[in-house]
C-alpha cells in the first residue's frame, strides 16, 4: 500500500507543478503605465524597440489590447499601431496572430481585443454587407454595420491588400493566362488556399459563381503563407490564393492574374476599435491612428512585407523604420 501512496502523491505533485507552470507561462502583466507588453505567445517583454519621449506624461486609462489576424502583414500593421500608441504614452498590450476573422472579430465584439487592422471589403462581407470597389463607400458601410456592436471604424488607408489568384510563370505561359477569367475551362488544375476558402465569398465561392471556375481539387493550406508558396513552387498546386501586397509574388516570379470581373472589393486597411476605448481617450487617440492610415500606401506595405517575408527581417524593426520615415 505504501508503494501506491507514493505513486499517488507523486502524481499529485506532477499535476500541481504542471498547473503552476502553465499559469506562469500564460500570465500577462499589464503595467500601470503600460511599459510592459506581451506578445501573442504570452511571453512578457519590455518594449525596447520604441522610443520613450523623455518627460512625456503617460496617458491614464484602460489598456488597449491590440490584436491581429494570423498572417504577417496584419501583425505588422498592428505592430505599427502599437508602437505609435506606445510612443504617445497609451497603455498598450499586444495579442497578435490571434487567428482568422471568425476568431478575432468575435474577440473584438466581446472585448477580448480592442483594436485590430481590418480590410474594409472582407470585413463588410463577413458582417453580411455588400462591399464594392469604392473604398470610401465600403468603409462607411462597414462603420454603419459595426456601430451597433460598439465598434468604431476609423479612416481607411490608401493601402489595399486583396485576395490575389496567382500562378507560376510557366503555367501562365503554357496556358496563356493573364486574367482570372482565362482559368475557365482548365478543369485539371489544383487550387490551394486557406482552409476557410471554400466558405468564403471572395475565395472559392466567388471563383465558382462569378468566374465559373471548376478546379480538380482544393488543397487547404495556410493564409497566403509559406506552406502555400512552397506548394505552388513545388507544383503541388497550380493556382494559389496569395495576397496582392505580398512581396513573395514578385520575388518568386509568380504571375498575379488580373481580377477582370471585379470579384475582389476594396480592401483598404483601416483601424477598427472598440467605441469604449475611443470614448475613454477621445480625439487624440483617433488622430494618432488616422495619422498612420493617412501615410500607409500599398507600395510601402508591399515593401515592408518583402522585408519581413523574403529578407527575414524583424517585424518590430521594420515597423519602427516605417514610423521613423513617415510619421
Amino acid at each position: 500500500m505504501r508503494k501506491n501512496r507514493n505513486g499517488f502523491l507523486g502524481a499529485i505533485l506532477v499535476v500541481v507543478l504542471a498547473l503552476l507552470l502553465t499559469a506562469c507561462g500564460s500570465g500577462e502583466e499589464t503595467g500601470d503605465n503600460g511599459t510592459e507588453t506581451t506578445s501573442g505567445e504570452g511571453v512578457t517583454e519590455t518594449t525596447s524597440g520604441t522610443e520613450t519621449t523623455a518627460g512625456e506624461e503617460m496617458v491614464d486609462g484602460p489598456t488597449i489590447t491590440i490584436g491581429s489576424a494570423n498572417f504577417s502583414e496584419n501583425a505588422l500593421v498592428a505592430e505599427i499601431y502599437a508602437q505609435v500608441l506606445e510612443t504617445a504614452g497609451y497603455p498598450v498590450e499586444r495579442n497578435l496572430n490571434v487567428g482568422n476573422r471568425e476568431i478575432y472579430a468575435a474577440a473584438l465584439e466581446d472585448g477580448g481585443l480592442d483594436l485590430v487592422p481590418e480590410y474594409v471589403g472582407s470585413a463588410l462581407s463577413y458582417l453580411g454587407g455588400t462591399p464594392t470597389a469604392d473604398s470610401a463607400a465600403t468603409a462607411q458601410a462597414l462603420a454603419d454595420a459595426w456601430a451597433d456592436a460598439g465598434i468604431a471604424v476609423l479612416d481607411p488607408a490608401p493601402a489595399q491588400d486583396k485576395n490575389g489568384i496567382v500562378v507560376r510563370e510557366d503555367t501562365a505561359g503554357e496556358l496563356g493566362l493573364t486574367t482570372v477569367s482565362d482559368l475557365a475551362g482548365h478543369n485539371d488544375l489544383i487550387f490551394g488556399g486557406p482552409p476557410e476558402c471554400p466558405e468564403r465569398e471572395f475565395c472559392m465561392i466567388g471563383l465558382q459563381d462569378v468566374y465559373g471556375l471548376d478546379f480538380a481539387e482544393f488543397k487547404p493550406l495556410d493564409a497566403g503563407g509559406a506552406l502555400t508558396v512552397a506548394a505552388l513552387e513545388g507544383d503541388e498546386i497550380q493556382v494559389a490564393l496569395l495576397f496582392t501586397s505580398d512581396g513573395v509574388i514578385a520575388a518568386k516570379g509568380f504571375v498575379l492574374l488580373e481580377d477582370d470581373q471585379g470579384l475582389q472589393p476594396a480592401e483598404n486597411l483601416t483601424p477598427v476599435i472598440r467605441q469604449e476605448i475611443v470614448d475613454a481617450y477621445g480625439d487624440d487617440l483617433v488622430a494618432a491612428l488616422n495619422g498612420v492610415s493617412a501615410e500607409l500606401t500599398t507600395e510601402e506595405l508591399s515593401e515592408m512585407n518583402r522585408r519581413i517575408g523574403i529578407d527575414g527581417e524583424d517585424p518590430e524593426q521594420v515597423a519602427a523604420d516605417w514610423i521613423a520615415d513617415n510619421l
Binding site: 482552409p195 488543397k219 506548394a231
Partner: protein, 236 residues
C-alpha cells in the same frame, strides 16, 4: 445544451456520412496512415530490437538513437521534412505526416522489445543452451514468447498514440479525421471541431480494444499480464 444538440445533429445528418469529406472516407484515410506508420515502425524496429535484446549488447546506443523520435515533436518533424518532401516530388500531406508518425511509433516498439527480450529470465535461456538450442532457436522458442506480452502491448500503445496524433496530417493538406478539426477551427465551426475530436477519440479507443483482443490471442496463455512494463511514448 443547444451545442450538444448541434453536435448530435451533425452526426445524424446524412451529408456528413457520404462523399470524400464524409466520415467513412475520413476514417479510412486516418486508418490508412496509422496502419502504415505503425506497421512500418514494427517492421523496422522489431528485428534489430529482438536481435540486440537476445545478444544483450548495443542497447544503450540504439535506444538513444531511437529516442530522437520521441524528443523531436511530431509537428516539428513534419515541418522539417515538408520542403524536402516537396522537392523530392513526394507531395505535401502524406509523406511528411507518415515520417512524423513513424518516428513517433518507433521508440516504444523498439525500446520495449529490446528490454523485454533482454530481461527474460537468464535461467530459462541457460536451460535452453543446455538443451543444445542454437541462438535463433533460443530467440524464437524461449525469449520472444516470454517477451511477447510486453512486445504486443508496446505495439498496441504505439498504434493508439499514432491514431491520436494522425490529425496532424490535416495541417499539410492531407485528409483524415484531422480535417474536421482544422477546417472547423478555420471557420470557427465548434460543432465540427468537437465532432472531429470525438471521432478521433472513438477511433483511438477502438484501436485499443481491437489490439487488446488481438493481444489476448497472440500472447501464450501461460504468461500473465503482470509482467507488463511498457514504457509509454512521450506526447509529440
Amino acid at each position: 445544451m443547444e451545442f450538444v444538440g448541434d453536435v448530435v445533429n451533425w452526426f445524424l445528418s446524412a451529408e456528413n456520412w457520404s462523399g470524400p469529406a464524409g466520415i467513412p472516407n475520413r476514417v479510412w484515410e486516418h486508418v490508412q496512415i496509422s496502419v502504415i506508420a505503425t506497421g512500418l515502425a514494427a517492421v523496422i524496429a522489431l528485428p534489430p530490437a529482438l536481435w540486440l535484446g537476445h545478444f544483450r549488447r548495443g542497447g544503450f546506443l540504439a535506444v538513444a538513437v531511437v529516442n530522437i523520435g520521441r524528443a523531436v515533436p511530431s509537428f516539428a518533424i513534419m515541418a522539417l521534412f515538408l520542403p524536402i518532401s516537396i522537392r523530392l516530388g513526394l507531395g505535401l500531406g502524406f509523406w511528411p505526416t507518415l515520417l512524423a508518425l513513424f518516428a513517433l511509433a518507433l521508440p516504444p516498439i523498439f525500446t520495449n522489445t529490446y528490454t523485454a527480450v533482454r530481461d527474460v529470465d537468464p535461467a530459462l535461456v541457460e536451460a535452453g543452451r543446455g538443451m543444445g538450442m542454437r541462438e535463433r532457436q533460443l530467440l524464437w522458442t524461449i525469449e520472444a514468447p516470454m517477451a511477447s506480452p510486453v512486445i504486443v502491448a508496446a505495439l498496441r500503445v504505439s498504434a493508439v498514440q499514432v491514431v491520436a496524433t494522425a490529425p496532424l496530417a490535416a495541417l499539410v493538406a492531407w485528409g483524415g479525421l484531422g480535417r474536421y478539426i482544422i477546417d472547423g477551427f478555420a471557420v470557427r465551426d465548434n460543432v465540427r471541431v468537437l465532432a472531429g475530436g470525438i471521432l478521433v477519440a472513438v477511433l483511438s479507443v477502438g484501436t485499443e480494444l481491437l489490439l487488446g483482443a488481438l493481444e489476448r490471442r497472440i500472447v501464450p496463455r501461460g504468461l500473465s499480464r503482470a509482467t507488463e512494463q511498457v514504457v509509454p511514448p512521450a506526447h509529440g
